[in-house]
Amino acid sequence: MIRYAYIIPLLPLISFWINIFFGKRLPRKGDWVSLATITASLLMSICIFAEVFRAYDPNFKYHVAFPWLVIGDRFSLDAGILIDNVTAVMLMVVTIVSTLVHLYSVGYMHGDPRYNRFFAYLSIFSFSMLGLVLAESFFFMFVFWELVGLSSYLLIGFWFEKKSASDAGKKAFVVNRVGDYGFLIGIMIIFATCGVLEFDKVFAAIGAGKLQGQLLTLAGIGVFCGAIGKSAQFPLHVWLPDAMEGPTPVSALIHAATMVAAGVYLIGRVYPLFTPDAFLFIAYFGLITLFISATIALTQNDIKKVLAYSTVSQLGFMVLGLGVGGYTAGLAHLTTHAAFKACLFLGSGSVIHAVHSQDIQEMGGLRKKMPITFWTFIIATLAIAGVPLFSGFYSKDMILAAALEFGMKNPAHYILFFGALLTAGMTAFYMFRMVILTFFGTPRDHHKFDHAHESPLNMTIPLIILATLSFSFWFSPWFGKLVVKPQTVANVAMAAAAQAPAHEAAPAAVPAPAEHAAAPAAAHGGSNEAEHEAHIAHMAHSYAMYSSVTVGGLGILLAFGIYMLGWVDPNAMAERFKPLYQFSLNKWYFDELYEATVISGSKAFSRGCAWFDNNVVDGLVNLSAQLGVFVANLIGKFDNGVVDGAVNGVADMTIGSGSILRRVQTGKLFHYLFILAGGALVILLVKFF
């Protein structure tokens, strides 16, 4: 089955072409084409996952490629697919969520005027995302990277009649461009030094020391810039909350479960090439992101905005996890987050569908009206809050443990753990604040409450499936065993570089004994160190578990206390800490900041360019034109005066001499005779005298 893996992305592509051209004329406007192809992809992914799972090998790797672009013998680029355990898991994540979102959209988008186009876009997105997951080189990674960006743009601006939606689409596209630029620079550094683009070959080249030191760090940070853009990390996180203008199924599929996780997946995919410095950079960006977005999520009132900021925050967790060396932790959170966050988004879509509002202050008491939505929503919320037995606990706990372990080894970076721990508490708090305001208590808007109703079956079934996947027992038995941290080639290269001078220096002084003495000592120290490390890891894990359960519980308790039992009036609190509240409500003024600096800066720059263009460039052009006219005038004068003068002069001379000479030709016979006789006489006289 795994041999046919390349068909998985191609099926949605076919459906895209069918739907974009013939969707309108097909029965049911072609939704079944998309649904059928993505379901087929899902089934194939399940088969492949089963195959990979049966092998149960942490180093499983299936790699097939054919030469795609060959330029002489200097450069060749392969097209192919690479399937290892992470890929198999990602295939499952993408196809499951995508299939469920397709199913959900049949109900949610019912009656939309561009129904067929919506499914076409969903198909092109599925194609791009699956291609991205299967890509085996930086080149194809980048191609599909841009394609998911395109489909994200199309789907955010799907209701482009709304100005806010089309603006949000453009914003997402442009902001992503900034990150992609960094990604491209990273790829260029790698290509310029290693000369290859396939992941395996690049790692081999770095291992061979072709790219090292500062430049390798820079390449890693460059690639991470792509992830900053796509995974909405600080400072490019501003596009994701705006992207909620798109239809809710899109938010669930692209902006919660799959595409935004592509950045995290990318970091995991190229994990071996990051240097310790690059990892530290990644970890701190993750920390900043998760903290900022969690504080913003505390005060938002739009149900989708809360979820959007919580997505940004959870992506920050993943990035932090990968940054502090928790490879398994980060990718586990990616996988679990995809399920519960998709469930939350689809649940919010169900709520929005029922009450026709996104403001949680207008909801309340929906628990009884929408039982299925409520129960699935609460399960997913428990998962994101990190309650034991739920999937979020399993993965977030691993991240916190990795952060704590990192902090124990490098005490200067303890803040990575405590920041994340505090944010985990905030996550529990704001998620339960949202759940309580939406589903508990008494309805605040009776008109909307009376109209509310449970969503149809094709919308609730995805919710139930995703909620089922939010339990940890689906993941915990195998994930840590199959997805293991790859060897970092950057370290190998650095170690080799460090060793080389030592070897050169050694032979002169004490050649053999020193090495003999050093080797056992190193081995001994190594085993001790390994034991010590295992001890730290164990300690970190238990501490992290207790503390995360504690802060999660505190957060939930606080949310219930404030919003249900009324310990403190939230409005009074907001009034009391007004500056902080406003700061959070206005999203740390990031949009205003960018408006004031980047946007107005680039506007000023473009005005400057326009001025330069209008005055200098146009001036030069006009000057050269005037110069041309001037020279042409001169040439015209020369032409009229000298050339024509010469021509006319010749003519005039001919006419003049003609008019003089014609007098000789009188036509009178005796004149000619006279001249003839005179001439003869002169000849005679000359002859004889």
Binding site: G667, K668, L669, F670, L673, F674, A677
Partner: protein, 101 residues
């Protein structure tokens, strides 16, 4: 005894008379008469040179040819003048300038 010089002098005088007539006369017929004088001056030269300097009759035969050609020429010229007179009412050669460019 007649010498060659005597013939040449007569011939030159005759030629000058003819040339003078041709140069000064306006009347076409008079000009034609001047041309006859010039031709006959040439005839005298031919015959004289043939008589004194050669023993073949080439000169005399040339003279006879010239006489014949002169007769033919006069006939043609007189016919032209006749047509000229019919068209313009005069045989003044200065008036016959209608072919001038």
């Amino acid at each position: 005894m007649m010498t060659l010089q005597a013939f040449l002098i007569i011939s030159a005088a005759l030629f000058c008379c003819g040339l003078y007539t041709v140069m000064t006369r306006q009347n076409g017929v008079a000009v034609l008469m001047g041309v006859e004088l010039i031709l006959n001056a040439a005839n005298i030269n031919f015959v004289a040179f043939a008589h004194y300097l050669s023993h073949v009759m080439g000169g005399q035969i040339f003279a006879i040819f010239i006489i014949v050609i002169a007769a033919a020429e006069s006939a043609v010229a007189l016919a032209i003048f006749l047509r000229l007179y019919a068209n313009t009412g005069s045989v003044e050669i200065d008036t016959a300038d209608r072919l001038k460019g």
